[in-house]
Amino acid sequence: MIYFLPNERREKWVARLAGEFNLFLPVQIEGKIHWQKYDKGNFAIDQLALSEIRAAEPIKAFLYRPREVVATFPKPIDPAQEMSALLFGVKGCDLRGLDVHRKMFLEGEFRDPFYTRRLENTILVAADCPMPRESCFCNLVGLNPFVNRGVDLSITTFDDGWVIEAVSDRGEKLANSAKDLFVPAGEHHRARREEQRQKALGILEAQNSKKWNPELSRAIAEKTSDRSFWKKAGEDCVECFGCLMTCPTCFCFLLYDQAKAKTGADVNQFERTKVWDACYMAMYARVGGGANPRPEFVQRFINRFHCKFMHFMNQHGFYACSGCGRCFTACMGKIDIRNILGQL
């Protein structure tokens, strides 16, 4: 079903959602978009940056925490059930991260129970990107600046209100509970939405007019042995790992153990913590005995391109890249993967 929410009712709906869920939304702070927890006393609907592009932080941080305790022993402690989270204003590019993490954490022989539980308890409300920025290239990785799958509700913003589509059963229930605020939308709303979406796509097509090699995976494979190409491409890297830490699709992690407390009752209780890792780190694949399969930076640089654009495509049929542009926005050396991939 598709609905319309007039401007003057938006604040009421958002406040109502915040009463039911842990509500996170994108707001503009000093010219940048950041996720923020809804704070009733300090929130005005005008702060909501729903029509902007994705936030600085990838939504993976909500589902796959930068740091979390995944086991305690010898006494097992069941992590307390968290209140359901609602991410309000998820973008088309954010969903690629979810797709990659679903493949990594939910498929195969073992499921990650932490990711499973968080995903089940997270409601996703998407919002179109009517005005893509220069850093956006989601169209090159097979995505759109709008969402009509994989979320619960999808919002398209207009001057006079929001067109809202219920995409899942859960979304339909949410819409039903807002029947007093929503107005049923008709064909002309769909037409308006379509027009705006095509306009956004047009902006993306124009700024990313040079298409990547349709056989990109093979092109990367063939270019692998040309070390001078990759050395030049990565020569400005200072190995800060900002690109990987802000990447919505990166999934690597480290596990480490420590005592729960240095003194007292918990001194013999241990915690195993999972923390994001980065494959650019020199020590990333080094084994206890000292051997390192990728000692040179160029090997680790190539490995990143292989992982995202070759292996993931070959195994799962899509790139492990969302086209969000966070990697080169964060990069101190201004290494733009669009330029590298465009040469292949």
Binding site: F73, G108, P113, F253, D257, R272, D277, A285, G289
Partner: protein, 288 residues
């Protein structure tokens, strides 16, 4: 074979959480004292897991950390054995353990040696140094009276730097005397000892032993230098890439194909390995 494996790591349990085991026996394996074997029993019998030789598991010392090790015992043995070389913080903490200590184990992880392919064939085992662990498990498994008739001739070439560095010496002596396995032991330097009798490097001794490749599978595990010089010998003996299986050791954290650390190209050593055929490895980058 794989269907027999019952995992302690399942969706219902937490795959990051170890189960508790007790150290029943600690054995110093070599003269330098940096190799110790730990025989472990499960504290809760219902947490016991089965495995197939070639698989590995993580041992964790509470508060220090965990590291992956090949399982050195056969599934038929009551206690689960791990042999650990002291190299870093976790292995040092393991070496300091005494009998009775309680530690964690998480596994079994990875694939195993190709017993389905080995059935009815000769088995050639080539190993050097302390990586003999999962091959000790393999030999013990193959030599179990119930299993032995299913395989042809079993030949093993196992070498170490010096006699004192050979693992599981008592067992080696027993196997050497028996007729179920043709065990050739060698050392780089005999250092005046009369056992084992052969002095020489593993690839050379393999060449002299010259096992028949016609209907055989070769299992290779050892230091990179040994593997490097063993390949040409196996090739010369007529082994094809699909007849040679190697066990790899890359850095691993999760052991369930999620954390990314052990990748070799698109493969994860913890999930797709650690056992790979030489044929499979030929299509992968040499990052191992």
């Amino acid at each position: 074979m794989a269907a027999e494996v019952r995992h302690s790591l399942s969706e219902k349990t937490n795959p990051y959480k170890p189960v508790l085991v007790r150290v029943e026996r600690v054995t110093v394996e070599n003269d330098s004292g940096d190799l110790k074997s730990f025989d472990l029993s499960f504290i809760n019998e219902e947490e016991r897991f089965s495995f197939v030789p070639g698989q590995f598991a993580f041992l964790s010392v509470p508060g220090v950390g965990e590291a992956p090790f090949g399982i050195a015992s056969a599934p038929e043995e009551r206690l689960m054995k791990f042999t650990v070389k002291r190299v870093g913080s976790v292995t040092t903490a393991l070496h300091e353990l005494e009998e009775g200590a309680v530690i964690g184990v998480r596994g079994p992880c990875g694939n195993h040696y190709p017993f389905d392919k080995m059935r009815g064939k000769d088995v050639v085992i080539v190993s050097g140094g302390f990586s003999f662990t999962t091959l000790r498990a393999t030999i013990a498994h193959l030599l179990t009276p119930a299993n032995r008739p299913a395989y042809g001739k079993i030949t093993a070439v196992y070498g170490a730097r010096s006699p004192g560095e050979l693992l599981y010496k008592e067992e080696l002596r027993t196997w050497e005397k028996g007729s179920d396995i043709d065990l050739v032991l060698c050392v780089d330097r005999a250092c005046g000892f009369d056992w084992p009798a052969t002095e020489g490097l593993v690839p050379n001794i393999l060449k002299q032993t010259a096992p028949d490749s016609a209907n055989a599978i070769a299992l290779v595990c050892g230091p990179p230098i040994m593997i490097y010089y063993t390949h040409p010998v196996l090739k010369e003996l007529g082994f094809k890439p699909e007849q040679i299986f190697l066990s790899l050791e890359n850095r691993m954290k999760c052991g369930i194909g999620k954390c990314g650390h052990c990748n070799i190209g698109p493969k994860y050593v913890c999930k797709d390995g650690p056992v790979f055929s030489y044929q499979e490895l030929q299509g992968l980058p040499e990052e191992y």
